[in-house]
Amino acid sequence: MSAATLGSRMGGQLVAPFRLFRGRPVALAGFLWLLFVAALAVLGAVITPFDPLEIDPVNRLLEPASPHWFGTDHFGRDTLSRVVVGARMALIIGLGTVVVALTLGTLIGVLSAWFTSLGHVLMRIVDVLMAFPALLLALVLMTLLERSVLNTIIVIGIVYTTTTARILYGMSLKLKNEVFVDAAICSGASTASLLFRHVLPNLASPLLVQASFIFAFAQLQAAALDFLGLGLPPEIPSWGNMLAESRTYITRASWLLLFPGAAIILTVFSMNLVGDALRDRIDPRFRDDIAGV
């Protein structure tokens, strides 16, 4: 998904991405970095100087220098190549989590606001799940599941479903009292057409903002799960796994900590900056609903 195309429709008017970032050079730089990460994710192993999985014991723990610009790890694998292919995993986890959390969260939030008695039950369940701190909930769910990409996405997605549902619930309640909703009901609109044609389009821009923050948080949670040995399978070259593996070698090879870490930080920071810029553009009614960072 490109934040640009969706972002261009914010507030019902066409706002080009570069206008969105006018007067915010840092946010624009963040947006460009995200485009760069997306390009790396698509191209992946095609553009890496070395095979990211190839083991080369002779050249293990080499300092950053030509031809290994980011050095090599304890198996002699090229760090630059691994950081490049790691972009794909970051994007898959981020987008996957956004899809899970927004789909379930919107469904629960909007339906709870519209059908009061259903809302009582669903929102109580959300309350109970929110009594579990985020990473703890993810850890408990991971104990029940195998380490895999899909399960990591599902688990982090469930964690952010709860916050999304609560935010969407609040926003839908506000919309429910709007005159245009009454007008649609009076003109005989069915509930389905009311929700799809009048409510959801109004929630599109706050959802986009929420999506950017979920994407950022998901990176941090996934990296933490990887680090604890409960995230992606260890053979997958994700940034989190690279950091988890390098832990024992950091005193001898600090570059193993620097480069994957910098990739995570730049990506999360950029997404937060873009989310912040988008939030300032949305309907002021909803601005306080979305917490962000």
Partner: protein, 315 residues
């Protein structure tokens, strides 16, 4: 106020019961016979039969839940597979580290977060504001474990100023000086949370500054410092108190990671190790204790909030 407190306490009970039901069901979601799961691979058929009878696993599930809840209420959280000790005493062993770590972290959060937030709001729109907002967003974008590893690399390995791992009890040899073991971990843990408080204090101060009573205070000729201190900051603090429940949840999540990075013998590392060891009774017990603590803290925060801000309706 008392009526409000009672009412809030009563609404806590259903949430707590539902959470305990989820935690109880956790053992049943793991593939295999719960008694065998709880006793581990080394269990004999006799032991499994004995635990099956004690837990009432041959009974309907709601009766099992009742039995389990009864045990929990009497402080019996089961026995750790790994330590062969009651779960409650295993958790208690990690409590000192985790409580001290959390207290030190809270100290940093308050000492860094509140002054920087106030400064940022007082110089709203200036370079000070941009710098602190930018830095706090950056701090919130750094993985906790990465920051911890870098601290170890720089301050423990490189400069040799502070120990890199472990924590001997302050009641053992070394006494309070042992707190230096918690310096790097608490700073690691404080970074993202202080960032959150900076943004919160700033936003709350800016909100309060727009209110009528602040304009009145300015109009009657109070000095700017006095307006900020007596009229803005005090009111803004209410919003910060309200955020402490949220901060606690973030703290718990990040303590799990931080205690693992610094090999601290706390409750957070216990969770991770118990998961890796498949020590299910401990996982179940720790989660239960943390959720209970979290709900109690949220309750206290709500009460403090209502007490501090008389505009909150207690109905």
């Amino acid at each position: 106020m008392l009526a409000y407190a009672t009412k809030r306490l009563l609404t806590l009970i259903p949430t707590l019961l539902a959470a305990s039901l989820l935690i109880f069901l956790f053992i049943h979601l793991i593939p295999g016979d719960p008694a065998a799961v709880l006793l581990g691979d080394t269990a004999t058929p006799e032991e499994i039969a004995a635990l099956t009878a004690r837990m009432g696993l041959d009974q309907p599930i709601w009766k099992q839940y009742g039995l389990w809840l009864g045990n929990v209420l009497q402080g019996d959280l089961g026995t750790s597979l790994f330590f062969r000790e009651p779960v409650l005493s295993v958790i208690a062993e990690g409590a000192e580290t985790s409580i001290l770590l959390a207290s030190m972290t809270m100290l940093w959060i308050v000492l860094i977060g509140i002054p920087v937030g106030v400064l940022s709001a007082s110089f709203h729109g200036s370079w000070i504001d941009s710098l602190s907002s930018g830095l706090s967003m950056f701090a919130a974008s750094v993985p906790t474990f990465w920051l911890g590893l870098y601290f170890i690399l720089v301050f423990a390995v490189g400069l040799g100023w502070l120990p890199s791992s472990g924590f001997p009890s302050i009641f053992d040899e070394g006494g309070l000086a042992n707190l230096r073991y918690l310096l790097l971990p608490s700073l690691t843990l404080a970074a993202p949370n202080a960032a959150l408080i900076i943004r919160l204090v700033r936003a709350a101060m800016l909100d309060v500054q727009r209110e009528d009573h602040v304009r009145t205070a300015r109009a009657k000729g109070l000095s700017p410092a006095r307006v900020v201190w007596k009229h803005v900051f005090r009111n803004a603090l209410i919003a910060v108190v309200a955020a402490f429940g949220f901060t606690f949840a973030a703290l718990v999540s990040e303590a799990v990671v931080t205690e693992t990075v610094f090999s601290l013998p706390g409750v957070g590392r216990l969770v991770v190790q118990s998961i890796l060891r498949r020590d299910y009774p401990v996982i179940q017990g720790v989660i239960l204790v943390i959720v209970l603590l979290y709900l109690i803290i949220n309750l206290l925060v709500d009460l403090a909030y209502a007490w501090l801000d008389p505009r909150i309706s207690l109905a």
